[in-house]
């Protein structure tokens, strides 16, 4: 590197580091490993990268890059790119945060809705059986009804959460909250 551009070049790297640090810091709150968080932060300022480039850039092992990339692909924060003429796989960061937001939260919420609504429906059937069971004492029936009602109430929330995910997936949410709102 020539003498004359050393300082501006350094300044650029420092500026990138600030943003990368913030991204990595907030990302591991999203349940990704430090390696994956750092990797995404790095890729955010790069074009496409190969596993070997990632390893060199981060000074970590190749399997670590491999698993991190896969995890990032799962939550759609990294996508595979095609590079003809190279045997190495190449990947690029998804730079549209709206897309990442959608992929991450919708996946999470849909899973939560499915798991919990499933358990709730099943439990409610059990409570109904208890209420109909002639061997249940009055206070047992009362308890069963109380729990049944509590679960019925909570279903409102899961339905809403499912709707929220759907409106984010479809983009309908942006009718309510536009992307470019100046405020």
């Amino acid at each position: 590197m020539s003498e004359s551009n050393e300082r501006p070049q350094l300044k650029i790297e420092e500026a990138k580091d600030k943003v990368m640090g913030a991204i990595a810091e907030t990302m591991d709150l999203y349940g990704v490993t430090p390696a994956a968080a750092n990797l995404y932060a790095t890729m955010y300022f790069e074009g496409q990268m190969t596993l070997d480039e990632m390893r060199t850039e981060l000074g970590m092992s190749k399997p670590s890059m491999s698993t991190s990339v896969r995890k990032l692909q799962e939550i759609e924060m990294v996508k595979k790119t095609f590079t003809r003429g190279s045997r190495k796989h190449t990947y690029a960061a998804e730079k549209d945060f709206f897309h990442s937001f959608m992929a991450f939260y919708c996946q999470m919420w849909e899973r939560e809705v499915k798991t919990n609504l499933g358990a709730i429906e099943s439990a409610q059937e059990d409570f109904v059986e208890v209420m109909k069971d002639s061997s249940s004492t009055p206070d047992i029936v009362a308890k069963a009804k109380e729990y049944y009602d509590q679960l019925e109430e909570s279903k409102t929330y899961y339905h809403w959460l499912g709707e929220l995910a759907e409106s984010i997936r479809s983009g309908e949410i942006y009718n309510f909250l536009p992307k470019d709102q100046k405020d």
Copy 2:
């Protein structure tokens, strides 16, 4: 326990366990410890509880209950209750999932917006300086501009995320997505 209500009682417990299992399972995706997840799941079917009751119920240590309760209070999934006549502190689960959702995600998103927007603003200033620096070569300036623009673009997302949090806090979101929507 008398003979006659043994089976219905057992059925109630099993039904509760199903729901508790699902809640605990989805909760540790929310960054809380297994102890905290199980504790919340337990409290969800109980009225107020003391630390000693929690410990007995879960078979864990008191400090573990203490830290778990505190963590759950932070994300507003548990609230302290007053019980006159008792020296022991009592706590109750927040059963309104809409409230928990708001407390958890708004806190998370607001922090993300603050951290990342802060870093972005600061980095953008650096990139401007590089562009104005007479010792910067044309390709350095071009790079700086490219990064500046990329960050400028991303700010749209963070503003949107902040708006989303705000509309959830204010309840405005329910004008768009009503709670009781039948579907």
